[in-house]
């Protein structure tokens, strides 16, 4: 036995409280989501049936369980509205993630090439907007994009356009908002992997005859792939479920799945349907989530 193992027992005891907390408030709620996704909407408090009353006895519970059904999922599959919503979410997330990567990479790369003492300062500058409220960042763009907002004023002053364009409530506005809000999430992991890159590797590549562009593609980019992967997942998954940005910036036509869920829950008070939408969304996101978890674990194990 090693003394390092002496630390493990008290350390494991430290896990008890957070473990119970996460089981109670993260894992357990999914059981309720699953149960309610199988329930029926009702004009009641809470607005779904059946409700399990543990005091009513075994038979009553069995009867209640018998009324659970897959009706909500049938509805989601049969009504095009929901399929379109899911597809639009995935499409928006994929497009935004690609744009984020194209925009974020040059910035992260430039920061990684700054003199070492400037790098942390540049990273703090990138992170600060991420700490200011999501809502504020979206709101700031409403200021700029509205009909008589700054963007139209500037474009008209420059004689690029003669009459104000409609920016707000369009997909362009939504993409601007998404990219603006998620850019730090992309730059952060990209920078982390680019900063680890030793300049001597590039020097060696060039010494061996690779042009700067070639050495970027042959050395820098492959070595930054873990950062690319982390950045893509950190952006893609939350964007799929995004609500605030499309709600405030996009038009009222097609909705992303987060909006649909919100609408069913808050406006239509159809909790079971909202829960079913969440279950489906979770199922779709589980794939990239598991990939992300796997990468995280591999990185941790690599470190140890």
């Amino acid at each position: 036995m090693s003394t390092r193992q002496l630390f493990t027992r008290p350390a494991r005891r430290a896990a008890i409280a957070p473990y119970l907390w996460m089981v109670l408030f993260f894992l357990l709620p999914f059981a309720f989501v699953a149960k309610i996704a199988l329930s029926q909407s009702a004009l009641a408090q809470p607005p779904y049936l059946p409700t399990f009353d543990l005091t009513a006895g075994w038979e009553a519970l069995k009867a209640a369980a018998a009324t659970l059904s897959l009706d909500n999922f049938r509805l989601i599959f049969s009504d095009e509205l929901y399929a379109n919503s899911y597809l639009r979410s995935l499409l928006v997330a994929a497009t935004s993630t690609t744009l984020l990567l194209l925009l974020g990479y040059p910035v992260a790369y430039a920061i990684a090439r700054l003199p070492e003492r400037w790098q942390p300062i540049a990273m703090v500058l990138v992170i600060i907007p991420f700490w200011t409220s999501f809502l504020i960042r979206v709101y700031a763009w409403i200021n700029i994009l509205q009909h008589d907002g700054l963007l139209n004023q500037v474009l008209m002053a420059l004689h690029v356009i003669s009459a104000p364009l409609v920016w707000l409530s369009t997909d362009s506005a939504m993409y601007i908002g998404i990219i603006y809000s998620y850019l730090p999430f992309m730059i952060l992991p990209l920078y982390a992997s680019l900063a680890k890159l030793q300049p001597s590797l590039l020097e060696a590549a060039q010494d061996l005859g690779a042009s700067p562009a070639k050495s970027f593609w042959l050395v820098t980019f492959p070595l930054s792939l873990p950062g690319v992967g982390a950045g893509v997942l950190l952006c893609f998954i939350p964007i799929v479920g995004e609500f605030v940005i499309p709600d405030l910036l996009a038009g009222s036509g097609d909705m992303m799945i987060g909006q649909t869920l919100w609408l069913e829950f808050f406006a239509n008070k159809d909790w079971p349907l909202a829960a079913a939408i969440a279950v489906m969304l979770l199922g779709i996101l589980l794939v990239p989530l598991l990939v992300y978890e796997h990468i995280q674990r591999r990185q941790l194990e690599g470190k140890q």
Partner: protein, 369 residues
Amino acid sequence: MPGSTLLHIDGVEKRFGGFVAVDGLSLEVKAGEFFALLGPSGCGKTTLLRMLAGFETPDCGRILLDGTDIAGVLPHRRPVNMMFQSYALFPHLNVSDNIAFGLKRAGMARDEIATRVAEMIALGRLEGLERRKPNQLSGGQQQRVALARALALRPRLLLLDEPLGALDKKLRDSTQRELMDLQRRLGTSFIIVTHDQDEAMTMADRIGVMNHGRLVQVATPRQLYEQPASRWVAEFVGDVNIFEGRIERREDQRLVIACHNTGAIVAAAPRQSLAGEAVCVAIRPEKMKLSRQGPAEAAIQAGAINRLEGTVSNLGYLGDISSYGIALDAGATLRVSVTNTARVDVDDFRPGERVVVWFEPDDCVVLDP
């Protein structure tokens, strides 16, 4: 000088998974002794040291300190302290607080702690640095704080893990002498782990050479160098020329050995017994003599001097000595080092020059191959 046995390690073994780090090792260290564990990286010396400190528990065997088995005792309950390779100074505590750390844990009275800390500050020549944080100290100063902290509890045994590894060469030399003085003055037993043989040879009363988790030789520095117990030790400690051959005949006190690519070599018969007729002959480079003409005839007549002829193939000038590579006519290559005793009119040999190498039978060590 060293007296009674302080530490008795008895058949200690330690495995990590399938890897045997320390393999049934036994050793005695006397009170007041300066003992060095020397060996290549991965030989188990650090694991052994960590077992003495209590950071690892042996799988089997006993570690007796003053006759008490401490193999299972936790580090904080042992009268043994350690100076870490990384120094492990607490970065959030200043020099005084680092030194006082163990004293406070031991529940010493406040004024007693102050006295002891002052004593240790003086011992480590750290006056004026008491309020500094570790990151405001030079490497040498950090090293002295680490030493003072480890000695503050007046341990029976101080363990030092590569204590000078992080220092540059000049500082290392002076620190070696300081450590030796300190150890003599305090009379504390020191066990130092090092991979630097010069360090071990300079400082230690005795050296234990480790390889593959075993002690291959425990001896004074001189014995280790002049009477290596095996070919591995001879090659590990210092430079050596090794010639393989077979014993041709035995004369009294002498062996005549037919070597593959030098011809016959006459060597003093070893004290230890040999496993068979196949042997190797080890000769240190500085024990050989080099000249254009060879030894005087009279010298050859008087004793059986080994005389080999060859050509200088390369030379390295190192200031105090010059090291020559010689290609023997019989095929072997060997190194000879010559002390540069004079500054001018030096009779040095050029590459390509014909030379004669000779050495006494007593300078040869015969070992199992």
